[in-house]
Symmetry: C2
Subunit: 261 residues, 2 copies
DNA sequence: TACCGATGGTTCAAATAATAAACCACGCAA
DNA sequence: TTGCGTGGTTTATTATTTGAACCATCGGTA
């Protein structure tokens, strides 16, 4: 692991719950030498990736993020384009909807919307990375993304989160084959005992998968009827969202959707 | 300059006009060794700050940006909160409005809106960093930001962009004193021969300046009447925008505004 | 076919930059 | 005072970064 990675990994400690972090806290979180961390922090601050609160001396995410976000969204919009669609979709199904993208071997949430139509809701934290093998979104990535990634993840260590988490490569392979045929991935209690999800791919300009959209419901509400409706809604919005990001469903996928409906 | 800075500086080459950059192009732009640049790029890609187009082999800004943007805007919103306000303000004055923040010793654009009510417009590129001493926005930063920054910039090299660019520290100091008294900064032809601007500070929660808002017009349209109207509109929106980001005008500034109106 | 000039990517000894223990200064509470 | 927690700095030691030269591949051209 090079210096760059080590420095940028510091940024992953930021979250909505922890928006400002001091030097000592960073040292504890990263389990690294203080002098090193301090040099990382000052250098990141010089680049604008961090800014230091002149009172508390703590560090927060800096303005460079805003510029880079602007450039990325101006040229290949994802978040800005899907924001309203995610809200609409959440209102239609009446459940939590979230969009995530692949980052390394994890899932990085990009957006979510919770219509809060029910007393119980699935909690969702956009700043927490999710595993690929134990979430419906992740399995959608493995099913519709590059085959090489799928094999790499299945052959790597597969952490157990609940009693129902699938940690056998072959069991996962079987499900992925099924998901590929159906065009959608689903999972119950794989990551959280009280959550059931369905997820499908969002395709970009070249028919490449740019992200996944998922519906998550408390298992208590995951009746057969509800699940069927979720699948229906998901299929519809997969097409809409892919279109919104300037993408097209690849021939292979299009086929599956129409065959399934 | 440490490794982190050198690596992150690669990201500054991205812009709306140049959203994807290949290895060789990076080498030319950064004037560095190819092996080094390649290591930087792969490492940045591993962290999710870049992603590689599997066809063209070129690099684009990656999904990590989206996550960090989400965290920053969720905890100290700027861009998302000001977006609609900037548009409204631009519609009201009928001219280009932009918001920028300080990054290092430069100005980093965050947002802009152009109502395009006239045949000629000021061109504005959100991905280009601006100098502090030669723009109205920059002078607003120097006038209402920390004194230490002001002195550091004035004592440093002051590049000339047009015949009218002020490059004498004392001349700039005089104008900054005036701007401090008036609560707004203005400048004609300091950075571009055909542009006149006015800018004012946006204050955050602690009465600290979090950014600047500016109106830019072609010099041809910068009549006295127009400029007076710009000042009026600017004063109004400085208060509104500061309020929108959860900030308050510091007592010293509040005083100036009311005294001026 | 061979050749050329691009591209992206890799290797390894040499040079340089990162590291971590110990340190300082400060603020606060007992 | 002492003790403990901050944030920040210095130092020789050590490990990482560096860059010239290298390879592989692509597309165009003679």
């Amino acid at each position: 692991m090079g210096t760059i990675t080590k420095a940028l990994d510091l940024l992953t400690f930021f979250s909505v719950q922890r928006p400002e972090i001091g030097l000592s806290e960073f040292v504890r979180l990263a389990a690294r030498d203080k002098a090193t961390v301090h040099r990382y922090l000052t250098e990141l601050a010089e680049c604008g990736f961090l800014e230091q609160n002149s009172k508390s001396r703590g560090y927060r995410l800096g303005p460079a993020i805003l510029r880079l976000y602007g450039v990325r969204e101006a040229t290949s919009p994802l978040r800005s384009v899907l924001r309203d669609l995610v809200s609409e979709m959440a209102d239609e199904i009446g459940e939590l909807v979230h969009v995530s993208v692949l980052q390394g071997s994890q899932l990085s949430p990009v957006l979510h919307a919770d219509p809060r139509q029910h007393g119980t809701q699935v909690a969702f934290d956009e700043s927490v990375m999710l595993p690929l093998h134990a979430t419906a979104s992740g399995l959608a990535i493995l099913s519709f993304g590059p085959q090489s990634l799928c094999e790499r993840v299945l052959n790597g260590p597969l952490e157990r989160f609940t009693a129902a988490t699938l940690t056998e490569p072959d069991a996962l392979r079987a499900r992925i084959a099924l998901f590929r045929a159906r065009g959608i991935a689903w999972l119950e209690q794989g990551f959280d005992d009280e959550v059931a999800s369905q997820a499908g791919p969002i395709f970009g300009p070249d028919g490449e998968m740019v992200g996944v959209v998922a519906i998550a419901v408390p298992t208590a509400r995951a009746s057969d009827e509800k699940c069927a409706r979720m699948t229906e809604v998901l299929h519809k919005w997969i097409a809409r969202m892919s279109q919104a990001v300037g993408g097209t469903l690849p021939a292979s996928y299009q086929h599956k959707v129409t065959a399934d409906d």
